[in-house]
C-alpha cells in the first residue's frame, strides 16, 4: 500500500465525487438522528449476544450504505478516502450513540489496519469491503493458555502442506469467535529459531473444518470469550499475511492499534458515573461528605480518562501514531471502572450483596464489581502496560533475558 492510498487526496482515474466536510457532517448527523440508538449501558449484550451481533451488523450496513464507513480508508478497497477531519466530524455525530465497538473494534480497528498495511492486494479487495458493510465480522486468534502476557511463546503450529498450511493448537480469550466469519491467526511455523522469529500470521476462515469453538464462561457469568481449537485445519497459501516468520511484526502492529482503539474509546463498565450518581441520590446519600468525596474522586479519574482518550482519538484521527503512550488510557479506564464499581457497592450496601431476583437492577452493582477487574486483564494486563510505558515511552532499560537467543523448542514454558 503506497502512502497516498490512506490519505484524503484524489486518486488518478477516479472522479472526485467526495463530499465537502459540511455536507458529510450533515449526512452523519442526519443518519444518527434517524437510525441511532443511545449508547447501551444495560447488560443487553451479555443477555442476548446473538441479537446484539445481528443489530451490530445491521448498524454497520446502514453506515456503509449511507457513505459513512471506512472514512479515511482507500477508495479502491471500499473506503471513502477522506481526511482526518471527516473522521472527527463522524465521531462528533456518533457521540452518545451505540456504535457496537465490542463487535467491530477488532475487525475495523485492528485487523483492517494490519491487512491494509501488510496484506496482498487480493486480500484487501476480498476482505475490506465486506468488513465495512458489516457482512463479515472478524476476531483475533492470538492468546493461548500457555501464552498470555508472553504472547510470543505461542505454540499453535502451522505446518506447510503442499501449497498451503495445516494448523493445530488452541487459542483462548477469542472475543465473539462464535459470531465471527474470519480471524487473524498467529501460528508458529518454525520452532528452531528464537520465539519471535518463528511466528506467522494467517487469515483463518472460522467455518473451516477442524475448528471447534467452545464458549468460555467468565467470572461474571457472561460468555463473550471463547476457546478455539484447531485440529488439522487447512489454510490456503493465499491466506498468508506478510511473509512466513514475519508474524510478530504484524502482531505488534495489531496490538498497537488495539491500544490506540482502547485508549481512544475505552471499554467501560455498565456501572457508570451517571448510574452511581443516580444511585446516591435515590438512596438519599447526597449529603454524606464521605460519599461526596469519593464521587468527586471518581469524577476526577473519569475526566482524566475521558480527556486523555479525546487526546488519543484526535491524534489517531489526525493520522499520528500514539504508539505505546496510549496504554495510559487503557490503564485509566480500568482504574475508573474499579473505583466507580466499589463506590456503587458501598452505596447500595446489602442490596448489592443480596437482592430479590425480581428486582430489575438488582444484580447491576454486583455485576459492575465483578466485571471491572477484566478491564485490567483483557488486551494486556496492567503490568504489561506498565512495562511498555516504562520501556517504550520513558526509555528505561529492559530486564536481562537470559533465554533471548534460545530456540523456541528449547524454551521453558508452562504446561
Amino acid at each position: 500500500m503506497s502512502g497516498s492510498d490512506t490519505g484524503g487526496r484524489p486518486e488518478e482515474g477516479i472522479v472526485d465525487d467526495r463530499p465537502s466536510l459540511a455536507v458529510f457532517g450533515r449526512t452523519a448527523d442526519a443518519w444518527f438522528a434517524e437510525h441511532g440508538r443511545p449508547a447501551n449501558m444495560s447488560l443487553s449484550r451479555s443477555l442476548d449476544p446473538a441479537a446484539h451481533v445481528a443489530a451490530a451488523r445491521k448498524y454497520q450496513r446502514g453506515l456503509h450504505d449511507a457513505g459513512l464507513a471506512g472514512i479515511t480508508w482507500p477508495r479502491q478497497y471500499g473506503g471513502l478516502g477522506l481526511g482526518a477531519e471527516f473522521q472527527r466530524a463522524f465521531e462528533q455525530a456518533a457521540r452518545g450513540h451505540e456504535t457496537f465497538g465490542d463487535v467491530f473494534t477488532i475487525g475495523l480497528g485492528m485487523c483492517a489496519p494490519v491487512l491494509l498495511a501488510l496484506g496482498t492486494d487480493q486480500q484487501k479487495r476480498r476482505y475490506i469491503r465486506p468488513m465495512l458493510r458489516g457482512d463479515e465480522v472478524w476476531c483475533q486468534l492470538f492468546s493461548e493458555p500457555g501464552a498470555g502476557s508472553d504472547l510470543a511463546s505461542l505454540a499453535t503450529a502451522a505446518v506447510a502442506d503442499g501449497d498451503g498450511w495445516v494448523v493445530s493448537g488452541q487459542k483462548v480469550w477469542t472475543t465473539y469467535a462464535q459470531h465471527s466469519d474470519f480471524g487473524l491467526l498467529l501460528a508458529r511455523t518454525d520452532a528452531s529459531v528464537r520465539k519471535h522469529l518463528g511466528i506467522t500470521m494467517f487469515v483463518a476462515d472460522m467455518r473451516s473444518a477442524g475448528i471447534t469453538i467452545r464458549p468460555l464462561r467468565q467470572a461474571t457469568g457472561d460468555q463473550e470469550f471463547n476457546e478455539v481449537f484447531f485440529d488439522d485445519v487447512a489454510i490456503p497459501a493465499q491466506n498468508l499475511v506478510g511473509a512466513p516468520g514475519n508474524g510478530w511484526r504484524a502482531a505488534t502492529l495489531m496490538l498497537m492499534n488495539e491500544r490506540a482503539a482502547l485508549a481512544g474509546g475505552p471499554i467501560s463498565s455498565p456501572v457508570t458515573l451517571a448510574a452511581v450518581t443516580e444511585l446516591i441520590r435515590n438512596r438519599g446519600r447526597q449529603d454524606d461528605p464521605v460519599i461526596r468525596m469519593r464521587l468527586a474522586q471518581a469524577y476526577v479519574a473519569q475526566r482524566g480518562a475521558d480527556l486523555f482518550a479525546e487526546r488519543i482519538a484526535a491524534q489517531v484521527a489526525a493520522g499520528d501514531e500514539p504508539g505505546s503512550f496510549a496504554s495510559i488510557g487503557k490503564l485509566a479506564a480500568g482504574r475508573v471502572a474499579r473505583q466507580v464499581a466499589a463506590l456503587a457497592l458501598d452505596v447500595a450496601g446489602l442490596d448489592a450483596i443480596a437482592w430479590d431476583p425480581t428486582e430489575p437492577d438488582g444484580s447491576l452493582w454486583a455485576y459492575g464489581e465483578l466485571y471491572a477487574p477484566s478491564l485490567s486483564i483483557a488486551g494486556g494486563t496492567d503490568n504489561i502496560q506498565r512495562t511498555i510505558l516504562g520501556e517504550r515511552v520513558l526509555g528505561l532499560p529492559r530486564e536481562p533475558q537470559p533465554d533471548r537467543d534460545t530456540p523456541f523448542r528449547e524454551l521453558r514454558r508452562s504446561p
Binding site: S149, D150, A219, G221, R338, D351, D356, S363, R413
Partner: protein, 369 residues
C-alpha cells in the same frame, strides 16, 4: 505469642482434613451448581461426628463447653475452604442464646443447635419489626395457630437475613430484648435472594402475625452479640485470605512466562508480598479480637477490637481477592476458576454485620472523636 494451644492445632488439623476431603473445589462447585445452600451430609458429619456445632455450647445443653477460641479455629478453616455452610450463623446464634438468661426457649434451641439438628440464623437489625403480645386462644382477634399469651406477635420484615433460606429458627437480636421465631411457622414467609456470593444464601423474612418466643437478655446483649458476630466473621475472612495467598503463590511459582516462573518477576513477587503484609497485619488484629472475645473482655474494649478486626479483615480479604485475579490474569477471570468465588465472598463478607463505614465511625469514637 500464638493464642492457640496444641489442642487447638489438633482441632484445626482435623477440620482441615475433613474439609480438604469432603469440601474440595469440586465439592464446593457441586453445591453451588446445585443451588444448594450447603452440603447436608457434610453438615451432619461436622456436627454429629466432630461436634463442631456445639463447640461453644455448654455441656449441660449437649455441647462441649468450649468457646470463641475454638470457634475461631473452625471458622478459619471454613473460610479457607470457602465452604457454603450455615455454620457461622448457627454458632453465633448459639453464643447469643448462651449469653441470654437460661430459660426453656434458649435451652431447647441450644440443644438443637449442639446436636446439629437445628440450624439457626440471627438478625441484628430489628428496627422494622413490630412486636405485640399474644392473646388467649379464646380472645377476639385470635387467629387459629397464632401467637398466644407468653408469645409475641411479629409483623414486618427482616431483610437480608444470612442463611435465612436454610435456617430452622431465627434469633431476633434487639437492644435489650430478644426473641426466637420458628421459620417454618405460620405467618412467616422466607424469600430467598439472589446474591453476589454464591457460597452463602440470604433471605428477606416477612412476618405477618407470626408467633415468636421472647427470651430474657441483659441490657448490653445486642452490642456484645454484634461484636462477637464481627469477630467470628473476621476469622472466616482471615482463613479465606490465607488460602487466597496460598493459591496465588502456587500459581506464580508454577506458571511460566518469558521463560521463567511469573513469581520471579518483581511485579508479581511484590504483589504477593503485599498480600502477605495485608494478611498478617489483619491477622494480628483478628487474633487480638479473638483473644478478647474468648476471655470475656469489657464490652467497650471488645467492641473496639471487633470493629477494628471487621475493618481490617474486610479490607484485607477484598484486597487479596482482587490481587489474586491480577496475579492469575485471564485464567483467574474464568467461571471455572475458584478466584471469583473468593472474590465474591470477600465483597459480601465486607458488608455483613456492619460495613466498613459503620465500623470506622465506631472506631473514631473509640480513638477519641
Amino acid at each position: 505469642m500464638t493464642i492457640y494451644t496444641e489442642e487447638h492445632q489438633e482441632l484445626r488439623a482435623t477440620v482441615r482434613r475433613l474439609l480438604e476431603k469432603s469440601a474440595d473445589r469440586a465439592a464446593v462447585r457441586a453445591t453451588i451448581d446445585g443451588l444448594d445452600a450447603y452440603d447436608q451430609a457434610l453438615w451432619a458429619r461436622m456436627s454429629a461426628e466432630l461436634g463442631l456445632a456445639g463447640l461453644a455450647i455448654a455441656e449441660s445443653r449437649g455441647g462441649s463447653g468450649f468457646g470463641v477460641l475454638e470457634l475461631s479455629v473452625v471458622l478459619e478453616e471454613i473460610g479457607r475452604a470457602n465452604l457454603p455452610s450455615p455454620y457461622l450463623s448457627t454458632v453465633l446464634a448459639g453464643l447469643a442464646l448462651t449469653l441470654a438468661d437460661a430459660d426453656d426457649t434458649t435451652a431447647r434451641l441450644l440443644s438443637g443447635i449442639a446436636s446439629g439438628e437445628r440450624i439457626a440464623a440471627v438478625h441484628l437489625d430489628t428496627g422494622d419489626i413490630r412486636k405485640s403480645r399474644g392473646v388467649e386462644p379464646s380472645a377476639a382477634g385470635h387467629v387459629p395457630g397464632g401467637p398466644i399469651v407468653g408469645e409475641q406477635v411479629l409483623n414486618g420484615t427482616a431483610r437480608h437475613v444470612l442463611d435465612g433460606p436454610t435456617a430452622d429458627e431465627l434469633v431476633l437480636i434487639g437492644p435489650g430484648e430478644g426473641s426466637v421465631v420458628d421459620l417454618g411457622g405460620d405467618g412467616v414467609t422466607v424469600r430467598r435472594l439472589a446474591g453476589i456470593d454464591l457460597t452463602r444464601s440470604h433471605a428477606h423474612v416477612t412476618f405477618d402475625g407470626a408467633a415468636a418466643r421472647p427470651i430474657t437478655v441483659g441490657g448490653d446483649w445486642k452490642d456484645r452479640v454484634a461484636a462477637l458476630a464481627a469477630v467470628l466473621l473476621a476469622c472466616e475472612q482471615i482463613g479465606g485470605a490465607e488460602r487466597v495467598l496460598e493459591i496465588s503463590t502456587c500459581y506464580a511459582t508454577d506458571r511460566i512466562q518469558f521463560g521463567r516462573p511469573i513469581g520471579s518477576f518483581q511485579a508479581v513477587k511484590h504483589t504477593l508480598a503485599d498480600m502477605l503484609i495485608e494478611l498478617e497485619l489483619a491477622r494480628a488484629i483478628q487474633q487480638d479480637a479473638v483473644r478478647l472475645a474468648a476471655t470475656g473482655a469489657p464490652l467497650a474494649e471488645l467492641m473496639a477490637a471487633a470493629s477494628t478486626a471487621k475493618v481490617a479483615c474486610s479490607q484485607a480479604f477484598v484486597q487479596l481477592t482482587s490481587d489474586m485475579i491480577r496475579v492469575h490474569g485471564g485464567i483467574g477471570f474464568t467461571w471455572e476458576h475458584e478466584a471469583h468465588l473468593y472474590f465474591r465472598r470477600a465483597r459480601a463478607s465486607a458488608r455483613l454485620f456492619g460495613d466498613v463505614s459503620a465500623h470506622s465511625d465506631r472506631i473514631a469514637a473509640h480513638v477519641g472523636l
